[in-house]
Symmetry: C2
Subunit: 204 residues, 2 copies
């Protein structure tokens, strides 16, 4: 939060971040159509003029939020990888990796991203901005999962099972959008972790 | 298609069906916001007056399309189950089941449903209409997969692996929304079919 003693540049950065976080919350809770500069500004407690200084158009705001979502997902993925490296090797480690991945797909961040992806399905300009970010995120998420599982990704069995785990996580994320699916999801994660651990070639 | 000799009731039913199919195509290709009664009427080659006779409001049109999507997904699932029953038992049967399920989640029907689900995330009234339909569809899809795989669903390993397969299919469907993911998807389906077949208890 900004304070009177904060340098101007820091205050500006903090305002920008508040606007981006409010955009993500708006997208996740009220959907694509409602996430406009004025609604987001009000939610962030920022004047409309200040919001428009940072993001002159709605397109600028959505693009900014996309990049911020990408950076935040990366930071979360780094934090998660660090937490998992402390889990003892064996099936418990595999379960921690699967569970962490799946939970990251049920966050408000995923729900906000889903609004943008779904809108982008019919908006080629937006799609063009998203696709490279998603491809990069997918590669990094894959590499981190491989490292956390301690498997050799050049083995196609391992490579495709890690990919399948990321796809499962995405599907479980989508299943959580309309109802709280957490109880069912926990059982699926447990079974998947056990099946995955047995099927991977030489996991740690 | 209606012909001059067709009874009035059949023509009316055909018009309704054309409107519902156009709604699904509009949702899948141009997204939620563009699927209005007038756009759909034009796409279906139906006068705006006739369209409004069938669907006075946009809400009526979307609700009608939801039920039609549900019925169509059920019909496709029945046809698929019949096709799979002809595949020899063993891993090939498991692969046919997984592949059929996954492909059903990459159809225009899934892409249209995704637009409705995503919009419903921030629209409680729409969500209330969708959730029971989805729950019913989920139960039927699960039961058909269990029958096609020839497994005992009272075994929790089988039950959760079939659920996971449906969740994986949903995730692969979402991965296909912004780019053509078919080449990658084929490899994942092949690997998962093989892992699933080995992990199921006593598949046919």
């Amino acid at each position: 939060m900004a304070t009177p003693h904060e340098p101007k540049q820091d205050r500006s950065r903090a305002t920008r971040q508040r606007l981006l976080e409010a955009t993500i919350d708006c997208l996740a809770e009220t959907g694509w159509a409602a996430a406009t500069v004025s609604v987001v500004a009000e939610r962030a407690g920022v004047s409309r003029g200040a919001a428009q200084h940072h993001f002159p158009t709605r397109e600028d705001l959505i693009t900014g939020a996309l990049e911020y979502m990408f950076d935040t997902r990366m930071d979360q993925s780094t934090a998660e990888a660090a937490a998992i490296s402390g889990v003892a090797e064996g099936e418990g480690r595999t379960r921690a990796v699967v569970s962490g991945l799946v939970e990251s797909y049920t966050s408000p961040l995923f729900k906000a991203a889903l609004q943008v992806w779904t809108h982008a399905a019919a908006d080629p300009a937006l799609r063009e901005r998203i696709v490279p970010l998603e491809a990069r995120f997918g590669r990094i998420a894959h590499r981190r999962a491989v490292e956390a599982l301690g498997v050799d990704d050049s083995n196609p069995v391992n490579h495709h099972l890690v990919q399948a785990t990321l796809d499962l996580a995405r599907g479980l994320g989508l299943a959580d959008v309309l109802t709280d699916d957490s109880a069912r999801r926990k059982l699926i994660v447990d079974q998947w972790a056990s099946t995955l651990h047995a099927a991977l070639d030489n996991p740690s």
